[in-house]
Subunit: 414 residues, 2 copies
């Protein structure tokens, strides 16, 4: 894409009303725009990153049998009364009831999917089922000060699993643990992300969160260096400050952000909706459920909190909005040719064709943070090629024009 | 995809609370599920159709310079006060104001995009701009009785264009007319879809709707058979019952559904938000705007209203959830092989591998409405091949196993 066509403009000044690093960088670099506290527009660059993250999650969910649907945002009070959550859930956005029946905006979808599944599950033959969606969620957060780490409106993947017995739920839950680990690995977050014991509600001793260590995190976790696992502060006292896995008491306190959460719901939602099935002997039994959430916008914010330097963002390969930032200094004809050739080969190129100074182009390029920068200038062409620089390194080198395609491919395959 | 894995179950009975053909067929065939009046879940088959329609529209928007973003659903009262629409727009969903600042759910996005563009447009060099999104929209419809033709929550593409002068707006508007015609052509709706004069508001004499003729339509239009254009009933008296194009008074009254709407907004929204630019002489001028909407869920419903028979839906090639419905009658090993081969070639296959009767499989297949049905049975294999049948035709024929790939490709290329 040509940068002159891109609807994005970087900013030198820090947005006045933002305190969080992720929002400051993403706004300055033209990825997002703030409409009000906790509510953001995704501009073309930001939307491209979201689509990359969405693609990775979709692929991994489909690998373990996930089937995609799309549930509504508007949810009727009737459903929330069945589970008793209409009055107990603090952050539920409710609509003006003088104008209509009583409705809420979905912060999660158990109250929709449980009755929905009644129409599709009647026998043990209909189980297991794994259903997921990507959806805007709504929570009336009082402290929406962390940029896209904690939005009042945010994009989430939620998968719900449905099982005939505890063993099947337990096995699928373990499988999802692995899937989540793979997603964080693909986003290069695995080193800082810990499988974390958290409170489990009434149906299992613990739930599990995936917590990524960053000073921007709003949670406190205690890491067990032996097990490479962690415990959320909310349950550390119940566990007598010991790792529940190995008994280790030398735990490290860290700030972290919850990037995912998996939960054995058991019959918590199937019971109120009478989501039952007939087993092989014809006995009516409640379906067991699990739920598995990941916040996409929160993941994007977490990546930015972790991968940055004083000049801007440094995107991991799998989440970058474009693979290559091609910058032409004057030599437009040659650059146009290279741009067309790379696009032809299916490489995603942001091509800075704007009529501004080299300094401004480099400034923007550092801020935006695409992993590879390729500069075409009179000087580089005289030196026999094109200047090739990684965003994560300081030095550039000249490579022959013919090698550029191979260099890029090698980088992204590594 | 294997039908045993597909989260969809057809229904023989008509849903009690549905009056509209599109909702009855889509619910019975397992494409959508009704949560409440005007609010539907898209099940895997329905979501696949939506993604096909979305893909076509995205492609066409990008061809005329459209750049994609994603704006929020939550919108602050402040913005709506600027345009005076907070109190005048009837169908605006508002949130319970005792709990929060006053917020509405976006029924359209002029109140978000106009102030947003202030940060990106300052000079004539920043114009023109064409920005679009796919977004859930919310309108508190009092008469949500037409299935997905008129939802209270529905998916829409909205593009906004920004221009320095009237000539540029006029030219782009004409281009979008052609783009819309191409979209309806790709969805095989062109024969029944008319460019229709409608009321224009204060900035242009007319706006244009795209109206598709169907008895399910809630609008009345008057077609000029000479011009192949139409006039919305709301302005036919102002036009003295004459075609504004050729003066013809022999107009045909038809029921129709508005599948698209394009509008010259002029300075209606740029003025209240002071969305201005500096022209070449440094004079401050208001930006001129246009907007261009298409309801995706409405389009899906319109297709179903038009393409069906007594047995079910008959999808057009470009919107079908799968390209081929492969049905095995007993011969699972051979069918598995063919299924794998077709998938390998990139053909989208729904493979009915369920352990139910041939009659039930055919019933479901007719209801779901995939254009090509391929049946593998002992009998067909003895006759030297595989049974090949179009959903739109009654007769089937036996074709050699080796030809199936070519037959399918030929059908979809035609």
């Amino acid at each position: 894409m040509k940068q002159s066509q891109l609807f994005a403009k970087t900013r030198k000044e820090t947005p006045k009303d933002e305190l969080s690093l992720n929002a400051i960088l993403l706004i300055r670099a033209g990825f997002i725009d703030k409409l009000m506290a906790g509510v953001y527009t995704f501009l073309p660059l930001g939307l491209r990153v979201m689509k990359k993250i969405e693609g990775i999650i979709r692929e991994e969910m489909e690998k373990v049998g996930g089937v995609e649907i799309f549930m509504p945002t508007l949810q009727p009070k009737f459903n929330w009364d069945q589970t008793g959550r209409w009055d107990t859930m603090d952050d539920l956005f409710k609509l003006d009831k003088s104008k209509d029946s009583e409705l809420a905006l979905g912060p999660t979808h158990e109250e929709v999917i449980s009755p929905l599944l009644k129409r599709f599950i009647s026998s043990h033959k209909d189980l297991p089922r794994y259903i997921f969606q990507f959806q805007n969620k709504f929570r009336n957060e009082k402290r929406a000060k962390s940029g896209i780490l904690r939005g009042r409106e945010f994009i989430m993947k939620d998968l719900y699993s449905f099982h005939a017995n505890q063993k099947d739920l337990d096995e699928y839950y373990e499988k999802q643990k692995e899937v989540y680990a793979r997603i964080f690995k693909r986003l290069e977050l695995e080193e800082k992300t810990y499988l974390t014991y958290a409170s489990g509600g009434s149906f299992s001793k613990y739930s599990h969160e995936f917590q990524t260590i960053t000073p921007a995190g709003e949670d406190i976790i205690y890491i067990c260096p032996k097990c490479k696992m962690a415990i959320n502060k909310e349950i550390i006292e119940d566990l007598e400050n010991k790792c529940p896995n190995c008994g280790n008491t030398n735990l490290l306190e860290e700030k972290a952000i919850e990037v995912g959460n998996i939960f054995k719901l058991g019959t918590k939602y199937s019971a109120p909706f009478q989501l039952n099935y007939q087993d092989e002997e014809g006995r009516e039994k409640p379906v067991l459920m699990g739920c598995y959430g990941i916040g996409l916008s929160r993941l994007m914010g977490t990546i930015v909190e972790i991968f940055n330097d004083s000049k801007g963002i440094i995107w991991p390969k799998s989440a970058t909005p474009f693979q290559v930032h091609l910058i032409s200094l004057g030599q437009n004809e040659e650059a146009e040719k290279i741009y067309a050739e790379l696009e032809e080969k299916g490489i995603e190129v942001l091509y800075d064709d704007r009529d501004i100074s080299a300094g401004e182009k480099f400034y923007d390029s550092d801020l935006i943070g695409i992993p590879i920068r390729v500069i075409m200038s009179k000087r580089s062409l005289e030196n026999g090629g094109i200047e090739y620089k990684l965003r994560s390194e300081d030095k550039s080198r000249i490579i022959p024009l013919n090698n550029i395609n191979k260099e890029i491919e090698t980088f992204y395959l590594a």
